[in-house]
Amino acid sequence: MPAEYTERSLLRYTEKVLELFRNPKNMGEMKDPTVVAVEGDPQCGDMFKMFLRIENNKIVDAKFLSFGCAANIATGSMTTELIKGKSVEEAEKLTIKQITDALGGLPALKMHCAVLAYKTLKKALQEYRAKSGGASA
């Protein structure tokens, strides 16, 4: 049977996603971040803002704001959790798959929300490199 006729799992969240939606981590504004990046567009349904505080090339804190769905919020929580305490190089190596795997998977239709958080992180790291003059490894 063609996949398009069994759409039952296209929208379901894993327990992990729902847990991170209900009790998000690292949510909120950050005062004096080293770098801030915004991605997305409210017209398209979501917008994501990431704050990083980087000291000695290490991400000592990460926070985010989200105008988005549960997938967006959960991915933001997971992404910031995964990079906190890591070096900028390590954070640059983080893949989208690592994030979604850590979430126990995302419904196919919600993948673009995960990508948004990831893109914002990439943008923030690039900005940091540009600012600090360092190139990515």
Binding site: L11, P42, G45, M47, F67, I73
Partner: protein, 390 residues
């Protein structure tokens, strides 16, 4: 405390309905086509159900075809009439704000060579009867317009539109998808002059899997499905008798104190709207105010935040609501209804629909009104967008 405020999607089945169904599952369980007593009892029961349902919409019992729901009723109405009348013309008129169960069928008919016009609506969801007049041609075989919009509650002026259609051509059929309006606003097929009308049991505390299509006597229509014919060639298969009997019981319960039910829903509606507008800033009402809005529907956007997040937060407090296009969350596109009335996408994304029935309790509304402001505030705090700047 719980608050089920998504009755527009589906409702719980009334215990008396369950009781009635049980009778036709455990006792009078016969197949209605057979001549032994169990069969004739089943057939007689279906006849009674037909009468109850026909009566509720002003039709005749023999004009009722039982279906598995409004989706199927709409499909039979639209394709059944289109196929049977294709030699008279291939033009159909509907609106941009119909339920997907109408729109998807229209799109299918377009693929099969029919021409469909999707009428625009104004900012409150009303069809301008003049736009119907403009689109009518000698080729127009069918017009399909829902009497109540399921998302924003707009009560369409069906009677006036029917008059325009029938004055232009007596033989242009008129279909009404009344799934969202049934038992919420008065319906009289004679008075309205409609030829076909779809209703669904599970929106009125009847069972899922039961619905009906009213088909005016003499309407040219043909089946869209084939197979074993029990009581109706327009809808093959063994009848879901418990479903039909449960449906009829739900209709009795819904229409028994119809005026009181409406008054109750109007009271809930006023309380909810007042509460939201008093307690929460930066909200946008979708659909009309007052008499022309279904008494069972309230729909607001909460600026700066996204609907799914609101929905899931409310769910954490036992409150069930719908967001965006209640029927097409899968598409991740802003609701087609909100788009059609000109709501900007970023506002549409924060739309929450609250729907209730005559059985909804005031304390459910109050619970929602207690929780909602906190949820909105929390989500706004973590949003990068400022509601006052939208």
């Amino acid at each position: 405390m719980k608050a089920y405020l998504d009755c527009g999607s589906t409702t719980w089945t009334h215990p008396q309905v369950v009781q009635e169904m049980r009778k036709y599952m455990e006792e009078d369980f016969g197949h209605p086509i057979f001549l032994y007593e169990l069969g004739t009892r089943a057939a007689a029961a279906v006849d009674r159900a037909r009468e109850v349902i026909a009566h509720s919409i002003g039709g005749k019992p023999e004009e009722i075809v039982f279906t598995s729901g409004a989706t199927e009723a709409n499909d039979i109405a639209l394709r059944g009439v289109a196929y049977a009348n294709r030699n008279r013309g291939r033009h159909i008129i509907t609106t941009k704000v119909e339920n997907p169960s109408v729109l998807r069928v229209c799109e299918r008919l377009e693929k099969e060579g029919f021409k469909v016009d999707y009428l625009p609506v104004d900012s409150e969801g009303f069809v301008d009867p003049k736009t119907v007049e403009e689109k009518l041609t000698n080729e127009t075989i069918l017009v399909s317009i829902g009497n109540v919009n399921d998302e924003i509650g707009t009560i369409q002026n069906v009677e006036e539109i029917v008059k325009i259609v029938k004055e232009r051509n007596q033989h242009t059929y008129f279909h009404v998808n009344a799934a969202a309006g049934y038992a919420r606003v008065p319906i009289d097929v004679g008075h309205m002059g409609v030829d076909l009308l779809s209703i669904s049991a599970h929106k009125i505390h009847g069972p899922k899997g039961a619905g009906a299509l009213y088909v005016r006597e003499g309407t040219r229509i043909e089946p869209i499905d084939y197979g074993y014919i029990s009581l109706s060639a327009l809808r093959p298969g063994t009848e879901n008798i418990p479903g039909i009997m449960g449906f009829a019981k739900a209709v009795e319960l819904a229409f028994d104190h119809f005026d009181a039910h409406i008054a109750h829903m109007r009271k809930l509606q006023a309380r909810l709207m007042q509460g939201i507008e008093d307690k929460i800033p930066h909200v946008v009402l979708h659909g009309p105010r007052g008499e022309k809005r279904s008494p069972a529907n309230v729909n607001y956007s909460f600026k700066g935040i996204e609907g799914e997040s609101i929905l899931l937060r409310l769910d954490m407090h036992g409150i069930a609501v719908a967001t965006g296009s209640a029927c097409s969350t899968r598409k991740l596109e802003p609701s087609h209804v909100l788009s059609a009335i000109g709501v900007k996408p970023e506002i549409a994304h924060g739309a929450i629909r609250f729907t209730f029935t005559w059985l909804t309790e005031e304390k459910e509304i109050d619970h929602a009104l207690e929780v909602l402001p906190r949820v909105i505030e929390d989500l706004r705090r973590i949003s990068p967008i400022k509601p006052e700047e939208m």
